[in-house]
Assembly symmetry: C5
Homo-oligomer: 361 residues x 5
């Protein structure tokens, strides 16, 4: 839980520092994860592919109006100056730039006519800390270029790069809109890996809830539930994003590609559906935990009751004949002791019989 609170409150602290600044002021909100921003460029059409790493962002400006398609990828959002330069050259609205460097964005899409701006989250289940880690990805989709901004290097886009390199027909023939689709598809496909991890965890916990319902396992389930809620919160707005995208009437979008967006939409719905199933399963596990614990408690109480109820009367009887009255005729009688034993055993047996009938044993 602490992890999520910390994540949230860290973000808020940074956000609140921004309070009072004028809109469009670029302030990097998020952790700096990289020493220096890195810029890579892929320029391609059906027949040709040019790929390079840039030292200076200015070298990418030539691609702005160069047909057919250039993909400029920038890793590292802390270099606010660099992003401002890009913004100025490519004519990006100051509010868009502000959103790019503020890593607390909800997934959304905004059509600025000159370009379409998309932002969403790349998610990774970090096994070492046992939490979902997110990285914000922004896409600027212009007529001949697509600029992607990430917080750090290492991403899920390598599969897309491979497909471009391999000269796969569709991606090399299509414009930046298809490239944007391919990137988002890669991000969403990656969510299935997180579902897989969560599924494994649930299977583990499930066994243990039954065999040893300790408070620790309950807390583990709580933590997992929280991660699932966090996951859902990141994925849910993507549906809306894709919905808006599909309905966007823009010269930047080819009508024939809309079916691909609808395909990612279906995947997103699948992810959300599975998340909902997981929530149901976890709710069921909690119920099971509670009823298992309460069941054990009942067992404990029954044992106490049985023991106490059997022995308290017996002890009373023994107490009676431990009294020191001068005149207690039974004490003198020779068969008192054996008769008493028979009495005690009789009480004992009839108690057992009573509990048996009550189904407590």
């Amino acid at each position: 839980m602490k992890h999520v609170i910390k994540k949230t409150s860290k973000f808020i602290k940074r956000s609140s520092k921004k309070a009072g600044m004028s809109p469009g002021t670029l302030v990097h909100v998020g952790e700096q994860r990289l020493d220096k921003a890195m810029i890579s460029v892929m320029n391609y059409d059906q027949d040709r592919l040019e790929e390079k790493e840039l030292k200076r962002i200015e070298d990418s400006f030539a691609y702005k109006d160069t047909p057919p398609v250039t993909w400029i990828n920038i890793d590292g959002l802390h270099d606010v100056e660099l992003i401002e330069t890009v913004g100025t050259h490519f004519g990006i609205h100051s509010l868009t730039l502000e959103d790019i460097v503020n890593t607390g964005q909800r997934p959304k899409l905004y059509d600025f006519e000159d370009y379409i701006y998309l932002v969403l989250k790349m998610l990774k289940y970090d096994d070492t800390i046992g939490h979902i880690v997110s990285e914000q990805v922004s896409l600027i989709m212009g007529p001949h270029y697509l600029i992607s901004f990430q917080e750090t290097e290492g991403d899920v886009f390598n599969f897309v790069r491979e497909r471009i390199r391999k000269g796969r027909v569709r991606i090399r023939k299509s414009g930046p809109d298809y490239l944007a689709y391919a990137l988002i598809d890669a991000v969403v496909d990656h969510y299935f890996l997180i579902l897989e991890k969560i599924g494994e965890k649930i299977e583990q916990f499930e066994d243990r809830v039954h065999s040893e319902p300790t408070p620790e396992i309950l807390q583990n389930i709580h933590t997992l539930k929280r991660e699932i809620i966090y996951f859902r919160k990141q994925v849910w707005p993507i549906r809306e994003l894709l919905n808006v995208w599909q309905k966007t009437e823009s010269p930047l979008m080819q009508e024939a590609h809309k079916i691909f967006i609808s395909d990612v939409y279906d995947h997103t719905v699948q992810v959300i559906d599975t998340i909902e199933s997981f929530r149901d399963i976890i709710a069921g596990m909690m119920d099971l935990y509670l009823s298992t614990v309460s069941n054990r408690m009942n067992e404990v109480m029954k044992v106490l009751t049985i023991m106490a109820t059997i022995f308290i009367p017996l002890t009373f009887v023994a107490g009676i004949y431990g009294m020191n009255f001068k005149f207690m005729p039974e004490l003198e009688w020779k068969w008192s002791y054996p008769v008493l034993w028979i009495l005690l055993i009789g009480i004992f047996v009839s108690m057992l019989f009573y509990f048996k009938r009550k189904k407590w044993l």
Copy 2:
């Protein structure tokens, strides 16, 4: 519970393998349930019926543009190559093919103008494992043909085949849209058999909740609830599917057949209504279980309290006269012992009376 988790996570594992592939790459996601894909063809009009099993898929290509109606049924989705061949010949979009072989689809309908694509789930309650088993059915509805894809042989379509063979008027006179309707109607009608099974289970459990509220019965109810949720999740989107279908303006659809779709829609709503009723009943059963258990617990506690409260003071009194003080006048007195018994019985009776008045007995 484990069953559902396994079902879910198995699917995810397969899905996640697909992450990173380009869209339209055909990868079979699901269990291979059949050695070899099987192809059967029914070509018919009002007067004529031709029925055969095909060895090679190529033999079916002739039917593409042959009026009036051909129903091509393919069992087995693992033969990706075969499905790709069908796709190429019948002009099916690569995303559709991807959906056909990926058995994790939500029920949906998509109008590709040349054809309409429908996908939904055939469900069966498998008594041996006590769970609902699903099989994905995809329908491609073209102008003169209907192609159905299933995971394995054996289906609920035999009734439809019989009707075609018997020369039933409407189905023989109508086009592929009516055939598609008939198939989906068969699938939905089959859901009632599952409702019946669940209804039986509920009746069984109901008796036992009352007579012997063991943790086992609670877990059985939990499992049943989970199956019901799973069932609902499969059926719910069919409403939307049928809704979309009814509103589809397509030359592939005859206006006069829309009322039939509306009829299946009503059946689907009935299924969902009954599922909801079952959920309510099960929630009520859980409440009943909990209150029965807590009631028994209260009984146990009352017995403990009554026994302890009666005998603890009595034992104390006996303890008093078990003391060995030299000077205890009562010990010497002759009637002490009988008087003590009267005292003890007096305490006992007044305790009983007190509990009676408190309605604990």
Copy 3:
């Protein structure tokens, strides 16, 4: 609870028998409640009223196109042949006929242009079994006729018959649409009687929850809740039905009568509102039951604790001086015994004082 499960599963069993039949196959789903179907006819205009019982359904055919209004009422749905004959003559769609004889319909309205089909439930609270009993009513509203189908004789329509016989102006002057409205109004008005019954039950239970919160009373509340849910499920879709009816643009409907439909709509909303109030009240009663029970439990536990806590130390003290050590100086001292009593009474009183301060007494 069993009652509802049985009702539901009986219906499902019958429904599932139908699985696989072609649509429009007439199979009676429901109990046969009547030996022989009964047909009655009322033909009237403002000045004239003709009323008779028919032996053969064919005698009613003449009324199809006879102005002004004929009301044909058929009791008994098991006579599938008869209903088929009616259907053929009056040009009723096979799906409508199927719905008429299948008593598991949700209330709905469908405009077939030639006629409007309405189906809903007549409900009765059967005091002998303590449950709500439903009977399906279907109305076929044509240009000059209205056919009503019921499961058995005896209905809430007698008030309407009386109004027709008495020559009440509006109903005799108006067409089948007003007659249909009058019938549905009668059905909905009848629901208030059920509300009344439920209200009485609630009042009874309410007193008992407080005075004697036994598990039986809880189960009675559970059963009542279930009946209320069942009731709500039958009434809820009628809102939609009336809504659709009001919006229906059909030559079969007179614009001026729509306000009457809106009036029944208001009544239906009132019924639903009262049902919701009842649900709230019942939920409150359950909470009250639970807190009353748990409160009693707390009382029990307090008594146990007080008794045990007071007497256990006292018994210990008595035990000490019951020991048989040779050298126990107190035993020899003359005032030991009275001093001990003072000690014991001191402990006792201070314990009481302690519990008093803790507000346990």
Copy 4:
């Protein structure tokens, strides 16, 4: 709770008496609160005001078409004949008249072209019985007249009458639509007084939940919750009413007055918001009650456990040396008794220490 049940079931009993009557039959549903209906008239324009009490309703008919504005107020709904006379003369639809005399209406608005019909509830918190009491108010808003119907004399309209008498500009210059607005505004403003009462009650209970969480206080909270739900049910539909009113295109409504309706709408939303806050607060109080009670229970259990756990072993030890065996070497030893005391005190102290460490003390 009983109060609400009785209110509800009384209403239902009366409603159910109406079942089977033809629509438009006037039957007074509600309590008769007044011996004789009272009629008062205010006829005014900007310069002139005429105010009188009428003996016969016929005297009001002259005002029907007299400009500019006449407000006819009728107290007492049991005089069905009088209301029928009004209805006939002013051309009011029979369904409207039925609604006026049936006091179980939900707030609603209906535009009959000749007039607009509004119905809503005047509410009062009756301190003597501790419940909200409602009175139905119907308004008929015609071109030159406004007729208001109430169940009994005494209302929240006196403020409006004062404003008319004082010659306040707007109300004297405007038509019946503004008057209708003013009346409804008065009704809604009055709701704030009820909110105030409820707020006071909540404050009272809040203190007591903490200091003395008795079952009585819980039941008081339950009762208050029920009143709040009842209140909400009466206020909620007024939003819809005002919404419909604002959208009504009618020659009876002046466009410039719509902003006033929107103002009452805002007030209604404020009332509902506050009701929702109260519900949250009450839910929180119930949670607090439950956790306070369960906390006290835990305290009780701890005391029991500590006492029992400390003294049971001690008593056992004492019991050992109370045995009468011939050969028990300890009994003979001189220092046995003091050593035993040391042992007992040792057990006692270490137990205390153990509980301290466990934080039970």
Copy 5:
């Protein structure tokens, strides 16, 4: 809790005083927080800035039609006369004025054609009392002027003033609509500071729930939850406000500025999202508290049960041999005592073993 109740009921008391007044009557509803209302004016265009404090409100009237932009800020709502004067001169509708001085408004926007009226809440987390404190801000946005009304001096607008003074390009070049946006942006940005505070509190509580789950900490969580609900209630309607603003077609609004409104909208959604996360976390903390407490309770019960179950039989055995029967052969036997010890230890050990196997130890 009390704080919120008091806040609410104080407001209601004042509101209810207004009941019965005619609409547009100006009555200050809220606390008077300032001795005297303060008026400040900023008149600016791209090149020029004039800033002054006014003694008399009349001095501001000259700015009404003076281009380009004048921002008149008024602190103190209790001076109803002053606000009436402003209203008369600037042509503000009496309902608007009523809303300005009544501090119980929900955030809303209303387009009066001559001006646009906006009202929302400035919120502050007051650490000394540990509650959120709200101040109502109203904006009147005319063609050349913007009037802002606040309850007291000291606000979040200083950042905006700085930006105007610094001659920041956009705000000096734009009209009152951009100024209104800037002010609302400042208000919403300030909400992040409250989120930060709440986040800190949650972190504090989180640690303590685990280490010492006292009733006090539970109540703290309850209080925090209530503050969060209050916060949410203030922020939620701002979404709607901004939504309406964006869709407003008014000559007072520049199309190009709508994107800025959409930006504040996104921030508001972020605030609400974080609030929802906090609610989830708090719900989780309460669950954790409850399960921690119940877990401790179980521990207590187990200790009791173990102690009682072990020693009660042992005490019984000791009691047996404390009896004073004349003829008890065991008493005479020499090895009785040691054998008995072996027996007792045997029972003890096997009990321990039993509990071990049951996992109670």
